[in-house]
């Protein structure tokens, strides 16, 4: 049954990718991209990679669809036909593809128990993490504790993405004060429903943030979902209204605060006599030290991701509104 579902989903994924290539209307491409993300998240679910599916559903299908639509609204909806010859790129792609397929021939058999992936560090994590860290969700243990350094790096990457976007797309407060005429703002049904739905979304984001130790989820997903709630508010009520709740300056402080919280936990554990990000020294008992450390750094990740996602959306949306005023 699982194999059948996998095959059907993979077939749909391949068809969607093919259809995207042949479409010229970029709006339709964005719509199909959101289906593509939904499908790949479904495949992750079927492979039991619940945390990855979570991220893919929230980021790939949610935030990136919104941002891509924003991009199209700024740049235009139709694809410019290519002027140069397609022959050389096609040749390169075919050769690379053939080399990659040839490379898969050396791969170990799919799903075999003796594969290198299953013999490297995975058995140690599976056997030792209940004793060393004691969280039911092993993914969180690996992500936040064993690989805490990598996750810090990822958080910094997300943070620098915000710096990049904000230095390219300047956000002008003066323009944001003007409220452009928008039909969606006169849409009563949507306003009432959004007011009901937004608290539910924020509540769920908090659940994901603090339940990540026990089930799928964690700081990254929670930050994205919380940002999605504010994005919904901005879409329905306009940017100038959402600026009254969380302003762009405050978001910048939040983004920095998240990264500093994460790094601060590391420095604090050094001050307590351990290594950088060694949570064992955070409390008397190494196990509860691990728990404190993981909750704190997940909070840091959540805050940074929330602030970065929302800032990037602000940057895009203020461009759109400005273009609309002119």
């Amino acid at each position: 049954m699982e194999l059948l579902i996998d095959l059907v989903l993979l077939a749909m994924l391949a068809l969607t990718a093919l259809r995207i290539i042949f479409l010229k209307d970029l709006f339709a491409v964005v719509m199909l991209f959101s289906i593509y993300s939904f499908l790949s998240a479904l495949i992750f679910i079927n492979l039991d990679a619940v945390d990855v599916a979570f991220t893919e559903a929230a980021v790939g299908a949610g935030i990136s669809t919104v941002l891509m639509l924003g991009t199209i609204a700024i740049t235009g909806r139709t694809e410019t036909p290519p002027t140069k010859s397609k022959l050389l790129p096609l040749l390169i792609v075919v050769v690379t593809g053939a080399a990659l397929i040839y490379g898969t021939l050396d791969m170990p058999p799919f799903g075999h128990a003796d594969n290198p992936v299953h013999e490297h560090v995975a058995p140690r994590y599976i056997e030792e993490s209940p004793k060393e860290i004691g969280l039911p969700n092993m993914v969180t243990s690996v992500l936040a504790s064993y690989r805490g350094f990598d996750t810090l790096g990822e958080t910094v990457v997300v943070f620098s993405a915000m710096i990049g976007v904000l230095s390219l797309l300047r956000l002008r407060k003066r323009d944001a004060d003007k409220n452009p005429e928008s039909g969606i703002k006169a849409h009563r049904v949507l306003q009432v429903i959004a007011k009901i739905v937004i608290p539910m979304i924020i509540l769920f984001a908090l659940y994901v943030q603090f339940h990540g130790d026990f089930g799928p989820g964690g700081g990254f997903q929670a930050g994205v979902i919380a940002a999605a709630a504010f994005i919904l508010y901005a879409l329905v009520f306009g940017l100038s209204n959402v600026f009254k709740v969380v302003g762009p300056k405050f978001l910048r402080i939040l983004a920095v605060f998240g990264v500093l919280l994460y790094a601060g936990v590391g420095v604090y554990s050094m001050a307590m006599g351990g290594n950088f990000l060694d949570y064992n020294y955070l409390a008397e008992n190494p196990l509860s030290g691990q728990h404190y450390g993981i909750i704190l750094i997940e909070l840091g990740v959540g805050i940074t991701v929330f602030a970065v996602m929302l800032s990037i959306f602000y940057a895009f949306d203020s461009q759109i509104e400005r273009a609309n005023i002119q």
Partner: protein, 108 residues
């Protein structure tokens, strides 16, 4: 327990049936507004039946609450989405089938 299983199975099967009929309607119906109607059937009745079929399989724990949350959320949002979509199509100048025919008659 057996009775609950039977009821739950019946609900699930009916839900799947309504989902399928809505999908067929998505292709068979003549204009956009009737197709919205077909699609929103799958969003409302199929979701209610399938999710309540699943609720009957839980033993009143966190999963029941989650399923109820999904059900309530879908019941709030999907009719809204259908409504907003139809309204937006109307503003965009899309005509229903009788209107199109009327327009043709006037033109000819």
């Amino acid at each position: 327990m057996l009775l609950l299983d039977i009821v739950s199975g019946v609900l699930l099967i009916f839900g799947a049936f309504f989902g399928l009929s809505g999908a067929v309607g998505l292709f068979k119906f003549p204009d956009f507004f009737t197709r919205v109607h077909a699609a929103s059937v799958t969003d409302s009745i199929a979701a209610i039946l399938v999710l309540s079929g699943l609720i009957l399989q839980t033993n009143l724990d966190l999963n029941t609450a989650k399923l109820l949350f999904i059900l309530i959320f879908l019941l709030i949002t999907s009719p809204t989405a259908s409504h907003v979509l139809a309204k937006s199509a109307r503003h965009g100048g899309l005509l229903s089938m009788p209107e199109k025919e009327q327009k043709k008659e006037i033109e000819s």
